[in-house]
C-alpha cells in the first residue's frame, strides 16, 4: 500500500509538471504539449515506468479492497452510539471512499484522454504529433466536466493529506522529529497537488 502509494505520489508530480505546459500561451502550449505527449508514448524507459504505474494503480486498488474487507470483518458489530470520530480526521477514516472517487475518475480520465490518444483516431498538429492538447481544451469547455474534475482532485487532495504521511509510517519512519517534518511536507504536497491540478481546468475554462 505504502510503496505503491508513494510511487503514485511521484507520478503525480511528473504528471502535473507535464500538464502545467497547458498553461502556456495557446500556440506554444499546443505544440509543446503534443510533443511532450508524443515523447512519453515513444520512450522505452517511460514505457516501463508506465507499466509500473498501471501495476501500482491496480495493486493499490486491490490492496485497498483487501484492507477494507478485512477491516469490515474485524470490526464486527457496529456501535449504536458511535463517537469514535472525535479521535481522528474524517479523511483518514474515509480513504476508501476518497480512493473510490479517484478511481472512478481515473476510469473516465483514461477513457477520455488516454484511450483516444493510444488507440483512437485523433487529429495531428502541424508537427505531425497527435493533438492531445485540443482534445483536453475542448473537454474543459464543459462546466460539468470541470466540476467532475474538481471533485476528483479534491478527493485526491484529501487522500494525499492522509496517504502521504501514512505511507511513511507504514514504511517505518518512526523518528519523532522526522515524522513531524514528513507530516508537514505531506500537507504541503497535498495542497500543492490539489491546486496544481485544479488550476488547469479552471484556467482553460475561464480564459478561453
Amino acid at each position: 500500500m505504502a510503496l505503491t502509494g508513494l510511487f503514485l505520489c511521484f507520478f503525480l508530480i511528473i504528471h502535473l509538471l507535464g500538464n502545467l505546459q497547458l498553461l502556456l500561451p495557446k500556440e506554444e502550449a499546443q505544440l509543446q504539449y503534443n510533443l511532450y505527449s508524443h515523447f512519453l508514448s515513444g520512450n522505452i524507459l517511460i514505457k516501463i515506468v508506465s507499466y509500473v504505474l498501471y501495476a501500482s494503480i491496480l495493486l493499490h486498488t486491490i490492496d485497498a479492497i483487501y484492507l477494507s474487507t478485512k477491516a469490515k470483518k474485524a470490526s464486527g458489530e457496529t456501535y449504536v452510539k458511535d463517537k469514535r470520530n472525535r479521535a481522528s480526521k474524517w479523511y483518514s477514516r474515509q480513504m476508501m471512499l476518497l480512493g473510490t472517487i479517484v478511481f472512478a475518475f481515473l476510469v473516465i480520465h483514461f477513457k477520455d484522454f488516454w484511450y483516444p490518444y493510444k488507440f483512437g483516431s485523433i487529429e495531428t498538429d502541424i508537427n505531425g504529433n497527435k493533438d492531445l492538447y485540443s482534445l483536453v481544451v475542448v473537454s474543459f469547455q464543459e462546466l460539468w466536466y470541470v466540476i467532475l474534475y474538481a471533485v476528483a482532485i479534491l478527493a485526491l487532495g484529501f487522500h494525499l493529506l492522509h496517504g502521504f504521511f501514512s505511507a511513511f509510517r507504514s514504511v517505518g519512519l518512526y523518528h519523532p522529529y522526522y515524522t513531524k517534518i514528513v507530516k508537514t511536507i505531506g500537507i504541503g504536497f497535498a495542497v500543492l497537488m490539489t491546486f496544481g491540478y485544479l488550476i488547469i481546468p479552471f484556467y482553460i475554462f475561464l480564459k478561453l
Binding site: 484492507l67 449504536v80 452510539k81 519512519l173 518512526y174
Partner: protein, 247 residues
C-alpha cells in the same frame, strides 16, 4: 443527579444484543463511573433482574480489565483515563449515557459488557518477551541502559492491555498494543538478539487473530488511557520491514 442509561445487554456471543433503558436517581458527582454501575446492579438485583456483567478489578486505572464504550467513546469522554477512573462529575443531571461493550471480531462478547480479550495474551505469547530463564540473568548493572532509553522503553511498556485501541480503531487493529511491546524491547539491549523473530512472530500472530490492519488514523493514541504513542506502530513497521528484507 438523575441519569438515564442505555446499556447493552447480550446473553452470550452467539445471541444478539440490544440496548436496555434504565434510570438512576441520586447519582452523586463524587461517584466513579463503575460505582454508578454498582448502584444500578444493586437496584437490578433487588428488583429480581439480572445485574449487568461488566469487567473491572483494580479500579485504579492500572490492571486494564475495565473498559466500555461510553457515549460512543472508549473509556468515556476524558483523555487518558480508564473507565474506572472516570467520575460522575464528568456528567450532568439529566444526561443520557450509552454504555456498550468494546466491539471487535477479535473481542467476542461474553455477556453484556464483558468481552474476551484473550487475543492480546496470544500476541504476547507469540514473542512479547525476552527469552531468559530464571537463573540465566547476568548482574543487573552489567547491562547499562541510558536514562533516556529506559524512559522511552517505559513509555511503551506502560500499556495496560485494556483494548481501547482496538475498540476505537475503525479497522479494529491491534497495532498499537502489539507495537508497544515490540518497541519497548527495541529500546533495550536485552533481547536484541531475538528482535527480528519477535517482531515477525508477533505481527503474524496479530494478523491471524481477526484483528484488522493499521491505516494510521491515529485514533488509538488519542483514546489510549496511557497515551501510548502511535510512533510505536511506525517503529514496529520499521522492525518488521527490516526483518523481512534481511531474510
Amino acid at each position: 443527579m438523575k441519569i438515564y442509561l442505555k446499556i447493552w445487554r447480550q446473553k452470550n456471543k452467539d445471541t444478539k444484543g440490544q440496548l436496555e433503558d434504565h434510570t438512576l436517581d441520586n447519582v452523586s458527582a463524587e461517584m466513579s463511573f463503575l460505582e454508578m454501575l454498582d448502584m444500578l446492579n444493586l437496584k437490578l438485583a433487588k428488583s429480581g433482574e439480572r445485574p449487568v456483567e461488566f469487567d473491572h478489578d483494580c479500579r485504579e486505572g492500572i490492571c486494564g480489565q475495565c473498559g466500555v464504550m461510553i457515549n460512543g467513546i472508549a473509556h468515556g469522554p476524558l483523555k487518558n483515563t480508564t473507565t474506572c477512573q472516570l467520575h460522575m462529575r464528568s456528567f450532568k443531571d439529566g444526561d443520557t449515557i450509552y454504555i456498550e461493550p468494546f466491539k471487535a471480531k477479535a473481542f467476542p462478547v461474553i455477556r453484556d459488557l464483558k468481552v474476551d480479550r484473550t487475543g492480546f495474551d496470544d500476541i504476547i505469547a507469540a514473542g512479547g518477551y525476552v527469552s531468559v530463564n530464571t537463573g540465566q540473568a547476568p548482574e543487573a548493572n552489567s547491562i547499562p541502559v541510558t536514562h533516556n532509553e529506559a524512559e522511552a522503553a517505559f513509555d511503551s511498556a506502560a500499556c495496560i492491555g485494556c483494548g481501547a485501541c482496538v475498540a476505537t480503531c475503525k479497522n479494529a487493529s491491534a497495532a498499537l498494543f502489539t507495537s508497544a511491546k515490540i518497541s519497548q524491547f527495541t529500546h533495550l539491549p536485552q533481547g536484541k538478539k531475538e528482535s527480528a523473530k519477535r517482531t515477525v512472530d508477533m505481527v503474524n500472530r496479530m494478523e491471524e487473530l481477526d484483528f484488522g490492519h493499521c491505516t494510521n488514523t491515529e485514533a488509538c493514541q488519542i483514546e489510549c488511557p496511557q497515551d501510548i504513542s502511535v510512533l510505536n506502530i511506525a517503529k514496529m513497521n520499521f522492525e518488521y520491514n527490516k526483518a523481512k528484507l534481511k531474510k
